[in-house]
Symmetry: C2
Amino acid sequence: MKKVSSKVVERLLIYRRLLRLYMQTDGPNIYSHQLSRMTGFSSAQVRRDLMEIGYFGSSAHGYDAEELLKSIDEFVNISEDFSIALVGLGQLGRAILDYFQGHGPNLRIEVGFDINPQKIDRVIQGCRCFHVDRMDEVLKNTNILVGIIAVPATNAQDIADRFISNGINSLLNYTPTRLQLPPHVFVENIDLMNSIEKAIFFARRPR
Amino acid sequence: MKKVSSKVVERLLIYRRLLRLYMQTDGPNIYSHQLSRMTGFSSAQVRRDLMEIGYFGSSAHGYDAEELLKSIDEFVNISEDFSIALVGLGQLGRAILDYFQGHGPNLRIEVGFDINPQKIDRVIQGCRCFHVDRMDEVLKNTNILVGIIAVPATNAQDIADRFISNGINSLLNYTPTRLQLPPHVFVENIDLMNSIEKAIFFARRPR
DNA sequence: TTCACGTTGTGATTTTTTTCACATGATTGC
DNA sequence: GCAATCATGTGAAAAAAATCACAACGTGAA
Ligand SMILES: NC(=O)c1ccc[n+]([C@@H]2O[C@H](COP(=O)([O-])OP(=O)(O)OC[C@H]3O[C@@H](n4cnc5c(N)ncnc54)[C@H](O)[C@@H]3O)[C@@H](O)[C@H]2O)c1
Ligand SMILES: NC(=O)c1ccc[n+]([C@@H]2O[C@H](COP(=O)([O-])OP(=O)(O)OC[C@H]3O[C@@H](n4cnc5c(N)ncnc54)[C@H](O)[C@@H]3O)[C@@H](O)[C@H]2O)c1
């Protein structure tokens, strides 16, 4: 199967979300220039991206929103069978849990891990929480595909290694730690301080 | 002054953080291949990036860590004179505030805004919080360079417009809303759901 | 002094990503 | 039926980003 870059996937997922909203209020069809305005990507970019997944519109009515959405859905193939583990139930971890709660049952955080006794062996926001020492044991019995790391920076590498040794090769890393990972592992680094610093830089310098 | 891409700035800021750690424990000099291992970027990439800011090492001892750090600092020129405003003091907003508290006084969130009466007109984590209706008035009297948006998605555009009309042209957007912005405004979108979906996609598909 | 080694700086090249620009095709109004 | 209009799909071009690969240099050992 053809390989697709992370950037294309990211944009497809953005179209997907916007299409859902669009269909609630607007007509059944949509043009690349509309998706362009909604996203800020160029319309040529939009058309290229849709080419990638082999969806074809008509030159008269653009794209059928429902069909397009279905095509993207099939392509990304995200279903509730695939769940998520979260390590670190601090400020950030709990905000993340909270967020998932509000977002329907299509994706959910299946299990959480921490070391703080106050946070383990109970259910927080519908998420069963365990001591981090039980990661191997618990992960064996679940169908986790993605691990979220929200522990203090110094523990991030340990947690990543633990995920990987349990066959989880797709991670979200909320810590500033640069993880050392084998090449087959996908990681998305979400680094607030880096983002802020970039924003400060570009606040005073044009791009 | 030469324009630098966002990617280069992002990496420079990563070197910067790693250099600080490195200097605490390791020798006074550092090689591009070490920065490469620490970051995951290629060593040629590292050298190119340092070229961009005109820092030169020696072929014998690589880079002088302290000097290099100083060069990057000068280049990015981030000081405590520039502060940040945060709108939306919910779960996520408070996690962000918390995070900044722990990170020394070099960068701070100067003011917060919300509509919830329980959260306004008091100081939360050292941050003065106001009603969102007072944004114009309050922003006039501060030296805010960057705005963080952590309100519900439906209000994000309003808040962005408000920031921009007050001359703040660098934003962090934590909502999934795609903001419509004039071209001179810098925005970094941090979209958890998008990241997760990408991670799920690549958990099952090689890149 | 001379040589081997390991590293930098960078021109050249390759790869990836985006944009351009236009032929093609569907629709509408007359 | 026909022309005018407007979008799509896409080859080609351009731009951006990353990698290659090697001359040049400084060091230390002999
Ligand atoms: N709060 C934010 O907005 C924010 C923003 C960006 C990045 N971060 C990063 O996210 C991480 C967590 O931030 P936070 O604000 O939630 O911190 P926090 O201290 O509130 O939470 C950390 C949690 O991890 C748990 N923990 C500690 N060591 C552990 C281990 N070895 N295994 C499992 N759990 C462990 C702690 O018990 C705690 O519950 C940090 O690395 C921080 O740099 C946070
Ligand atoms: N919690 C997360 O981890 C998380 C992750 C990703 C994205 N987000 C996004 O961040 C945003 C906030 O998430 P949250 O979990 O903190 O939600 P929340 O409901 O806990 O917080 C929202 C806050 O915004 C305030 N608010 C509402 N309307 C406002 C307005 N017009 N002006 C100013 N303040 C207003 C509310 O009073 C509340 O304090 C949402 O858009 C959400 O999609 C949250």
